[in-house]
């Protein structure tokens, strides 16, 4: 293995090499994790191995919203108490978690699995946009664009707005401006401009 010139038992070297492939896990972290697993009871190591296999074998994409799920449709799409007339569009399944943590949103979601990024050759056909348009039947009254507040997220939001506007559905965008806890002194011009535009009576 690159950078490892010390003779190491083959299973140990193999585990270090595999852990090293994970994002944010360098060689030292991979070595620490490996030697930790050598010390814990065998049941704990087996539980980790089975959890990894389970995630790959049992997790798929929800056929309605394309969130990651082990049941189809996912828990949110199956929940009868959710407001199905409201769809919140996000870039990534991970974006659903913070929105759900607010406990303020009772609609359903649609996951695009990316953003439009022309420089990388990522266009609408590479995202779940066609599937989104297929969901915008008679019952949907609002689409919330919750892509990230950066250039590519905004480009995606503007493109979706262009596609959805002719359908007569209300289109909203998450408010942009100063995040709570931010310091006005360090805010950039674009953020401040949007915060000023979106100011409300207090």
């Amino acid at each position: 293995m690159k950078g490892n010139t010390v003779p190491t038992a083959q299973p140990v070297a193999r585990l270090i090499e595999q852990l090293n492939k994970l994002p944010g896990v360098g060689l030292k972290s991979a070595q620490r994790m490996t030697y930790h697993l050598l010390r814990v009871p065998v049941e704990e190591a087996k539980a980790l191995a089975e959890a990894i296999i389970d995630v790959k074998e049992k997790i798929a994409l929800c056929s309605m919203c394309f969130n990651i799920t082990d049941t189809d449709p996912c828990l949110i799409c199956r929940d009868e108490s959710r407001e199905r007339n409201r769809i919140c569009i996000v870039e990534d399944p991970l974006d659903i978690l913070p929105l759900e943590r607010t406990r303020k949103y009772r609609g359903v979601y649609h996951v695009l699995h990316g953003v439009i990024s022309p420089g990388d050759g990522v266009g609408p056909d590479d995202l779940k946009i066609k599937e989104l348009l297929g969901r915008l039947g008679g019952n949907v009254t609002e689409v919330i664009l919750a892509t990230n507040p950066n250039v590519e997220g905004e480009a995606t939001a503007m493109y979706l707005q262009r596609l959805i506007a002719p359908l007569g559905i209300k289109i909203t965008r998450l408010a942009r401006g100063l995040p709570y806890g931010a310091d006005l002194e360090y805010a950039d011009d674009a953020t401040l401009s949007r915060a000023l535009e979106g100011r409300q009576e207090f």
């Binding site: 994002p23 944010g24 439009i116 022309p118 420089g119 990388d120 050759g121 266009g123 609408p124 950066n150 250039v151 590519e152 905004e154 480009a155 503007m158 493109y159 262009r162 506007a165 002719p166 995040p179 709570y180 806890g181 931010a182 310091d183 360090y186 805010a187 950039d188 011009d189 674009a190 953020t191 401009s193």
Partner: protein, 279 residues
């Protein structure tokens, strides 16, 4: 004496890549050092002081520190956020085309202030309301000039005779325009109308304000675009990804007849009457 660890740079952000848990790797084009790749640590966290100052297509004053592999952005202050550009899908897409061209054509750490100034003024024009297609064609012509790939538009690129005001032929491989006699032996040379020939020659040598005084119809705009795209494709040896996106937006706009660019009608590729952005 070793170079200082920290250095300032006036920059335009060309590309952003997520890195690790909260970082981004940026490709920036700087006035002082050309293209640079640098890390913006923690920028994806809500409280980051770098935040929107290092967003794509932002003109910022940065402070960087030399790193082992990548330099690190330690401070950032927006000079121009180009909010109008970022709020218009078509102009933004043109901006993304511009940054892809700069990223594709330039090497790291090769200073070229002319390219920086051209890029900055191009983005300013796009943000300021000038006809996007005029801005882009002008940018393309002057970019290749600064890069040393100025197309030959005054003499035949093969035989060297002075080109006459007739139907000539554009051949990227030869480096410019061919006279009708030479073009007979080059089947892949594309016919260039007299108007396209005149516009390219004028725009190659004039300021943007002067370029704006020329009114270009839809068909001529399309011809100019095809000529420049073919030249850029030859130089890069590939198609530009952002160009495919621009084409898609145009197709969808024509078929839906929804949004209009400034000065572009839906009857043709482009029909622009520049309004100068003062660049």
């Amino acid at each position: 004496m070793s170079p200082p660890r920290n250095y300032p740079a006036e920059a335009i952000v060309l590309k952003c890549r997520e890195f690790g848990e909260a970082d981004k790797v940026l490709t920036i084009y700087t006035r002082e050092h050309g293209k640079v790749r640098a890390v913006a640590k923690g920028v994806r966290r809500p409280g980051s002081k770098l935040g929107g100052h290092v967003d794509l297509l932002t003109h910022s004053q940065l402070m960087l520190a030399h790193g082992r592999n990548l330099d690190i952005i330690t401070q950032a202050q927006t000079i121009e956020p180009f909010i109008e550009l970022k709020g218009d899908l078509d102009r933004l897409s043109c901006g993304l085309y511009v940054v892809e061209l700069i990223d594709s054509f330039t090497e790291e750490h090769l200073e070229c202030r002319e390219i920086f100034d051209l890029t900055l003024s191009t983005i300013q024009r796009l943000s300021g309301g000038a006809s996007p297609e005029a801005v882009i064609r002008y940018f393309e012509l002057h970019l290749v000039d600064h890069l040393g790939y100025r197309p030959q538009l005054h003499k035949c690129a093969l035989c060297g005779t002075q080109l006459r005001p007739v139907i000539n032929f554009f051949h990227p491989v030869s480096g410019g325009v061919l006279c009708p006699d030479c073009a007979r032996n080059v089947p892949e040379a594309r016919q260039l109308s007299l108007n396209a020939f005149k516009v390219l020659r004028l725009w190659q040598g004039c300021s943007f304000d002067e370029a704006c005084r020329v009114r270009i119809g839809g068909e001529l705009a399309g011809e100019l675009e095809m000529a420049m795209r073919s030249y850029l494709k030859y130089l890069l040896e590939r198609d530009l990804k952002a160009a495919a996106w621009l084409d898609r937006l145009r197709r969808e706009r024509l078929s839906n007849n929804t949004t209009k660019l400034v000065g572009v009608d839906t009857a043709g590729v482009g029909n622009y009457n520049c309004t100068s952005a003062g660049g």
